[in-house]
Symmetry: C2
Subunit: 458 residues, 2 copies
Amino acid sequence: MRNKFFLIATIILCSSGMANGRQNDSLVIKRLSDEIMSNSTAYENLRYLCKKIGPRLSGSANAQLAIDATAKMLRQAGADTVYLQPCMVTHWERGAKETGFIQLANGTKYPLRLTALGNSVGTGKNGVKASIIEVRSMEELQALGEKVIKGNIVFFNIAMNPTYVRTFVAYGTNGGGRRSGPAQAAKYGAIGVMVRSLASNIDDHPHTGATQYNDSFPKIPAVAISTQDAEWLSSQLKRKMQLTGYFKTNCTMFPDVPSFNVIGEIRGSEFPQEILSVGGHLDSWDLAEGAQDDGAGCMQSIEIIRAYKALGLRPKRTVRAVLFMNEENGGGGGAAYLRMAKEKNEQHIFALESDGGGYTPRGFNLDMSEGRRNKVKQWAPLFYDYGVYDFAGKGSGSDIAPLKNIGTALAGLSPDSQRYFDLHHAETDVFEAVSKRELDLGAVNMAALMWLVSEYGL
Amino acid sequence: MRNKFFLIATIILCSSGMANGRQNDSLVIKRLSDEIMSNSTAYENLRYLCKKIGPRLSGSANAQLAIDATAKMLRQAGADTVYLQPCMVTHWERGAKETGFIQLANGTKYPLRLTALGNSVGTGKNGVKASIIEVRSMEELQALGEKVIKGNIVFFNIAMNPTYVRTFVAYGTNGGGRRSGPAQAAKYGAIGVMVRSLASNIDDHPHTGATQYNDSFPKIPAVAISTQDAEWLSSQLKRKMQLTGYFKTNCTMFPDVPSFNVIGEIRGSEFPQEILSVGGHLDSWDLAEGAQDDGAGCMQSIEIIRAYKALGLRPKRTVRAVLFMNEENGGGGGAAYLRMAKEKNEQHIFALESDGGGYTPRGFNLDMSEGRRNKVKQWAPLFYDYGVYDFAGKGSGSDIAPLKNIGTALAGLSPDSQRYFDLHHAETDVFEAVSKRELDLGAVNMAALMWLVSEYGL
């Protein structure tokens, strides 16, 4: 009887302790939200990054300007330590603007809105000119084979499927043309590739993005054309028009060059050796200001440091904001981060990346063991007031993914994805496309999750 | 024993029946989603409404053009019946563009970006000129009283509180200056009112909106100034600057005029006498294209009719798309809708309004009895795949609110609200501010909810 009473008393006390803890967490998160929604500097920092610096492809002069500027932002945010972590990065240059057209049998030329795919080879000064073969899948390419493909330009007309409510699913499912189309087409003797831009909407802006060659086959030049042009081109081909395509790209792949990840941290008060990273990537495609992709994630990460400092919140574990270099076309920054972690034998408990745009946050994707996942899910109710409710997604972010190698629990902010592929990797990814409140609300939820992990570990 | 077995068997059969029903509902909703996300005409219809017609304040020639155009859209969508429902609407005209400035003691004049509040009286040809008294609340106005206020211009500098994650809460809480400020200031002898625009962001666009006079006090002219100007003006006043304000408005309130609600319906197959309404409001402020407010809600409502027809889905109950006139500055359309419902003794089971913008949907606000609310909430899991999870909100929409009078269960689409008050009632509420996918996803969820109510009643 006495034991039973003791047991019940213990349960009550524990529950009450948990409830108090929960209540206290809730208050801290409310303070973080109020601070960030009222005084965030993320939006003005993003304005600077986009408007004063602009595009910042790895290895470019602008990338170095962005490194210097964000290191300064991290110092202004109040980070205990700010430093640059060396890494080697891809150095690809677009060169002069690309040109291209479709020529009808009667000689009429229709100019195309196009852009070279990232990391692709240039055409040389004469460009490539050949008949256009449209395919809608890798299977169709394979079925046509060398007999049809050889000596021609393959047009991968694979639209993003609009019925996927989560647009990243369409990006993954329908992105093969850009990612491996040139390598696959080369296998069958194609001399060039045009891909339909990976975009949700029908418009005039070509969307670039990295393609990956296969060393067993020739590297052939490749461009993305606007979805509008893709629709038009396909309609022409349907009418059995005999079409010749031409394009000229002027890009060059150079040897890797040294660059940096930018890091700012607050040292943990109790377990400083346990490191929690939060970041985005600092490099962007050369076409755009890289506002949503991924200036937003970088500025949110800096904002977390600023908000903790402004509120005098000292995390128990070390919280590190990491602005990774070279996510777009090489992954040099993420690789270096893992390498240094191993060399220094650092304990990386948790890493969070924001690389889905600074849109209204809706959840966190979790890439971790079931036990850790359940621990995070227990915190879910703390996020409801801030619009985050979905913890079912998998995955994290490509810069932090290498940390899986050392057992780090990973997560990715999952913002609303409806508008992302309207502007992704296109010239429309500019500061004006970012909403201040949406950006800040992402930072609020990220700050909350980082705080909970810093308090309780995983 | 036999009875117990029977009971269990019944429970199993019922559960299984429910599971089958649920599964079937899930399939219908998936079909609706695929149809709308692939073939919706809402976005192109909205383009027409915004770009070919544009602003459409009640009583204007454009409002009539919008009536004709949307009736045509409803016919094209395949509605069984399309008709215009007469209503009387407010007829207020802005007249020539407003002007105004702040004059410093040294005579320097700073022009203000301002707009007359909806339904406000004009200043007359001389405008109003007086000292500026800043207040931050109704309590402050009251405390200053007639002694300070009389003969002056009151400046209601009440910012939308950025810490409310749901921006509609700030709009409600901080909107008194616009809604009743002129009436309150007149009580203490003010000769004019300037209100800080009800906007989430700091920018240069004044936001209009209706104000309501109190017949016991004089009707004094009133303008909204941009948030940027409000910040500047307040900073000048803090420096104890002696400031004179001037503004001239040219607006006139005319007697009410006849207009119409636009209605298109699909007759129910089993219970045609039970009416389910879904709508938005067709009128918009004269400054803007009224894209998010509320062209979006109208086009979504038409899209529901189109999608049902395209899929051959015949609802059991009558589904009626209603485009209400005069929501912005009088409510004549909503009042007429109720009056006609009463006159015809119609059974209005349910009404849904979309008037929070065509942003990504996150939930439905419910204004109905607890029993009905619980019934709707049971359907919640059917919406998760389409981004809707929040059924906790209260309220519905101002056009359908009168139906409460006859016991109708009401609901409102609750879209993401972060960007709404950047453009609400300002010249920035244009077609380009709408995302096709966000707009369509709202229609998907509305179509799903209307379908469930048409199948099961409430």
